[in-house]
Amino acid sequence: MARIEDIPEPTRSAVLGLAIAGFATQPFVAGPPLSSRRVAVITSAALHRRGEAPFQPGSAEVRLLPSAVPAVDLVMSHVSINYDRSGWQRDINTIYPLDRLRELAAAGVIGAVADTHFAVMGSTDPATMAETADQIVGQLRQERSDAVLLSPV
């Protein structure tokens, strides 16, 4: 676990049996050195601000997470009950590593941390998310973010 043998049933069978369509093309975009990249995170943990409506199961929406939103303001409404939440409860960086990225930026390993990050609902069919991807990329371009770390749960 996620070595497959560590995932309890019936989640293991569900994971192995998931129909994955794959993608028609294999895009591969080069970029400048890492030390000059502006890095954004896309988490599929269905994070959002406390007080906002929870994600609906199967939702294709994206929630924008400004860097300035503190961890104390974020909650998680992911549909699955079959993964560990104790790690995220202790330390948000276990799933959404902005503190680590800020340290890497301060050390010059990356150029900067993006101003806006993104949360989506894991397990939603990607085929329904084309408009969401357009929206995310529009925001990335507006902020000149040129690297994305995708973090699943």
Binding site: R37, L149, L150
Partner: protein
């Protein structure tokens, strides 16, 4: 989907099988438990190792598909023998009154946990921990239920209040001492607490509901199957 729109990506992957099937431009398979893509809570050095490995793939030019493996297990991948739970539960029966007493007993530990971690993940709905069991109890009757949360249908309210209740206990269980291995808190919650038994009873009642959505959520999204007691329908 992001890379095809022109922005370079790297993904962490918790299921290697899925990485191979999706063939992303750059991916780092991490052998951690589901729910912990950076591996280890409160271990900045470990998290940074994972991140540096993943982000380093952004400088590679030998695509179009790069899948690497992170070779090290997270330290708390397995149960930790040093973890000891400080909570003393009052016992009793798993009815609404019993669970309310248990929540009151757990409350001081939860406040300590919130102080320790500087935050709480409880709060998907605005229902406070002391009011959760009262909000959930009407679902036990199995009949039509008015949603206790404005803006959420009854099935989603049930689901998210239950999530908050689980988070309340889980955070309280980590109020003191060394941190537990993945899964240890869940095993305690489902095997030791009245709240766990209460959620199992809610699941049973929900599975008999006339509300299709409550039936579906109760069946699949309240109690993880590995923690269902013997004899409960799967």
């Amino acid at each position: 989907m992001i890379e095809s729109r022109g922005v370079p990506t790297v993904t962490l992957g918790l299921v290697r099988h899925h990485l191979v099937a999706t063939a992303p431009p750059r991916a780092l398979f991490v052998p951690f438990v589901l729910g912990r893509p950076l591996g280890e809570p409160e271990d900045a050095a470990f998290q940074t190792r994972v991140l540096r490995h993943a982000l380093g793939l952004l400088e590679r030019r030998d695509g179009p598909v790069i899948i690497e493996d992170f070779a090290t297990d997270a330290p708390s991948h397995r149960a930790r023998s040093g973890w000891e739970l400080g909570i003393v539960l009052p016992g009793g029966t798993a009815d609404a009154a019993g669970v309310a007493r248990e929540i009151a007993a757990v409350m001081p530990y939860w406040h300590r946990a919130v102080a320790r971690f500087g935050r709480s993940t409880v709060g998907i709905t605005s229902i406070e921990p002391a009011d959760m069991v009262g909000a959930l109890a009407p679902y036990l009757a199995g009949g039509p239920v008015e949603s206790p949360v404005a803006g959420l249908v009854p099935a989603l309210a049930l689901r998210f209040i239950a999530d908050d209740l689980k988070a309340f206990y889980s955070e309280a269980a980590q109020a003191e001492g060394e941190h537990p291995g993945a899964g240890q808190v869940d095993r305690w919650f489902w095997s030791e607490t009245l709240a766990g038994q209460f959620l199992v009873a809610l699941r049973r009642a929900g599975m008999a509901s006339a509300d299709n959505a409550i039936r579906a959520f109760a069946t699949r999204f309240l109690v993880p199957v590995p923690f269902l007691p013997e004899g409960e329908p799967r």
